[in-house]
């Protein structure tokens, strides 16, 4: 995290207002540039068109600079302060993400291939004894097609965008378990995997484990109810992987990024409230998992 001087809310609001003004100017310049480009190439001539393109590029640079500047100057301060209230030994890197090996080595049961990974808002810390790591992740699938003239085209499709959370409670878990959300199309058929007594859960999730008993041991009625509720609040497909060595991975394909400033038509208090709400969503998940006594292998402990 960059070492910034802590600013008061008034100073942060002032910076936000400056960035908002810069953003508006950038939008105005970009739109103007776009119009000049169009008119230039249609009526006014090549020179006018090129000037329009230059204006458009300048406008886009100003927009990017304003939003990135707002995030670095204001967002990081607010997010860091909010995280430090909740987590111990917190580290926040707004432009970093979880290591790519996490995605490739943790079999989450995704129904798609991943060829490229980007992300942001990496957080690492300790929450009530649980080590957590999380970030926004964007997983991309790359396909190559050949047109009728034999030319190869590369297409990137975003197949996952959202939160990836890793919790390490410091204890071995009782079993390996994987939950992956079924597609709406095939959910009703609920083919394959382990079936619990909850039809709603079976239709929503594909359950895989070494044994049916292990799956039922972890997926108590209360746990299943909570996972369904968490999935409803997440706003996207939920994937969970319980690893026997002690880590729980949760990936939510919500299409949203955490800790985003939005349109900048806001103030520091509203942003703080928004970010606190996003953090609380994560801590609620950790609190709920901690309560599930059957999650942990009582015969061994990773600590001492």
């Amino acid at each position: 995290m960059a070492a910034n001087t802590k600013l008061s809310d008034e100073e942060l609001n002032r910076i936000l207002a400056e960035k908002r003004s810069a953003l508006r100017k950038g939008i105005f310049i970009a739109v103007g540039g776009g119009i000049v480009t169009l008119l230039g190439f249609l009526y006014l001539g090549m020179f006018a068109g090129l000037c329009g393109i230059a204006l458009l590029i300048w406008g886009i640079i100003k927009i990017t600079s304003a939003t990135r500047g707002a995030k670095n100057a204001v967002g990081v301060q607010i997010v860091t302060a909010a995280l430090q209230e909740v987590f111990d030994e917190v580290e926040y890197l707004p432009h970093s993400h979880l290591d790519e090996s996490v995605v490739y080595n943790t079999d989450m049961g995704f129904p798609f291939d991943v060829d490229k990974i980007t992300g942001s808002d990496y957080v690492r810390g300790n929450y009530r004894g649980a080590e957590i790591e999380m970030s926004d992740m964007r997983l991309i699938n790359i396909t190559y097609t050949t047109d009728s003239k034999g030319r190869s085209h590369r297409q990137e499709t975003t197949v996952f965008e959202g939160l990836w959370l890793i919790c390490d409670f410091g204890k071995a878990l009782s079993a390996d378990l994987r939950l992956s959300e079924r597609s709406a199309l095939f959910g009703k058929l609920a083919i394959g995997g382990i079936k619990t007594e909850s039809e709603a859960f079976n239709q929503r999730f594909h359950i895989q484990s070494q044994s049916q008993h292990d799956a039922f041991y972890i997926l108590t009625p209360h746990m299943m109810e909570y996972i369904l509720s968490m999935d409803a609040k997440g706003g996207g497909d939920t994937y969970m992987r319980f690893l026997k060595e002690g880590k729980v991975h949760i990936a939510i394909n919500s299409g949203r990024n955490a800790f985003e400033m939005g349109s900048l038509n806001t103030d520091v208090a509203a942003l703080r409230q928004k970010f606190v709400g996003e953090i609380r969503y994560v801590t609620d998940i950790i609190d709920e998992l901690r309560l599930v006594d059957t999650l942990y292998d009582g015969s061994s402990s990773k600590t001492e």
Binding site: T196, E197, F216, Y217, T220, D293, T294
Partner: protein, 177 residues
């Protein structure tokens, strides 16, 4: 000739369906049997933990130990009814242990005793899971033999009984420290 082929194909389709359906029933029966065995394992573990607990308590729990040894007979291949009966009897013993432990603070403060109580709680959680697995497989089997047109091939197969859990069971076993 063509009609013969059509008839042959239809008969083949029906035969494949019939074989698949009957094999499906058999697979579900095996899963129910496996799940019943899971309950047996969980109950045996609970029995062993209760026995160890009473050995630790020695003089405090002579009556409970006698009850366990004379009334509850765990063996392999018990039926669901026998397993349910054994489970009820263990609930009564566990409840009696709790009452006895409440009367002797020195017993309750013993680390070994507390560890064994935690072990009993864990055994109970495994029993709950085993019961749910059994009931889920029984439900799948009962549904399969009842649904048409598969029910035509069910023959003499009867619905299986579920493993019931008494409402008071969790209260009895929840150990307070």
């Amino acid at each position: 000739m063509e009609i013969l082929w059509i008839v042959f194909i239809l008969v083949a389709i029906v035969a494949i369906w019939a074989i698949g359906t009957v094999n499906g029933f058999k697979r579900k029966e095996i899963k129910v049997e496996e799940a019943r065995s899971g309950i047996e394992v969980a109950l045996t573990k609970r029995y062993d933990m209760l026995t160890k607990l009473m050995d630790t308590a020695k003089g405090y729990m002579t009556h409970e130990k006698d009850t366990m040894e004379t009334v509850i007979k765990m063996r392999r291949g018990m039926s669901v009814d026998e397993l349910q009966q054994a489970s009820k009897q263990m609930d009564a013993v566990a409840s009696s242990i709790q009452v006895t432990a409440e009367a002797y603070p020195e017993l309750r403060s013993s680390e070994v005793f507390n560890q064994l109580q935690r072990g009993i709680w864990d055994a109970e959680e495994h029993l709950q899971a085993a019961r749910r697995v059994y009931n889920a497989n029984v439900s799948a089997y009962n549904t399969a033999i009842a649904m048409a047109p598969a029910s035509l091939l069910a023959g003499g197969r009867q619905s299986m009984a579920f493993f019931e859990a008494e409402a008071h069971k969790r209260e009895d076993v929840k150990i307070s420290f």
